[in-house]
Amino acid sequence: AQSVAQPEDQVNVAEGNPLTVKCTYSVSGNPYLFWYVQYPNRGLQFLLKYITGDNLVKGSYGFEAEFNKSQTSFHLKKPSALVSDSALYFCAVREGKSGGGADGLTFGKGTHLIIQP
C-alpha cells in the first residue's frame, strides 16, 4: 500500500523569506510524486510533478520540489514567499508502472501555509 506523510499541519513564513513544506512517501516500485494547492472553496490546482529525471523539479508560481530517493522525500520549496501563496498544500503519490490500470493518487492530509506580511 502507498502512503504520504505531511508532518506539519501548518507552516508560518514571513513574506520574502524562503519556504519549505515537507512530504515523505512510501510506495512499492518507482514513485510518481505530485504537489497540489487548494484555495478556499476551490478544487485542487496542479503545481508540479516528479516522474523521472532531474531530482529538482520546477513548477507553477515559482515553486520547486526536490526528490530525494534515499530519504523518500519530496519537499516543496520557494525562494521568496508571497502573501498570495497562503493556501492548503497537498502532496500525493502513485506507483509508476507501465501498462494501463489503476492510477489513483494517494494524498497526504495537507499543510496549511500561512505567509505573514
Binding site: V4, Y32, F34, Y36, N41, R42, G43, L44, Q45, F46, K49, I51, F90, A92, G100, G101, A102, D103, G104, L105, T106, F107, G108, K109, G110
Partner: protein, 114 residues
C-alpha cells in the same frame, strides 16, 4: 481550454435521502476519477473510469454509492441512502490518459448531510 466542470457546487440533504453529483471532464480526457475529501483530510479515491469502463472501485462503498460514465464522457456519482459521515467535498478529476499522469481537478461539490 475549459476545465473540469461539476454541479451542483453545494448540496444539503437529510440522512437517508439520495443525492447525485455530475461531472464533465476536460474535452478528450479518457480517464475520470471521483475523490471524497472529508474536512481536515486529503482526498481519497472512490472510483476511476477509463472511457466508460471501471478501472478501480475498491474504495467505493458499494452498498450506498454508485457511479456511471455513459458514453465515456460525463459521469454521475450517486449516494443512496446518505449517512451523516458522507458529509464531504466530492471532487472529480480527469487526465488525458494514464500516460499523461497529471490529474486535473474540478471545483468540487460540497455535501452536507443533516
Amino acid at each position: 481550454e475549459a476545465g473540469v466542470a461539476q454541479s451542483p457546487r453545494y448540496k444539503i440533504i437529510e440522512k437517508r435521502q439520495s443525492v447525485a453529483f455530475w461531472c464533465n471532464p476536460i474535452s478528450g480526457h479518457a480517464t475520470l476519477y471521483w475523490y471524497q475529501q472529508i474536512l481536515g483530510q486529503g482526498p481519497k479515491l472512490l472510483i476511476q473510469f477509463q472511457n466508460n469502463g471501471v478501472v478501480d472501485d475498491s474504495q467505493l462503498p458499494k452498498d450506498r454509492f454508485s457511479a456511471e460514465r455513459l458514453k465515456g464522457v460525463d459521469s454521475t456519482l450517486k449516494i443512496q441512502p446518505a449517512k451523516l459521515e458522507d458529509s464531504a467535498v466530492y471532487l472529480c478529476a480527469s487526465s488525458l490518459n494514464w500516460f499523461t499522469e497529471t490529474q486535473y481537478f474540478g471545483p468540487g461539490t460540497r455535501l452536507l448531510v443533516l
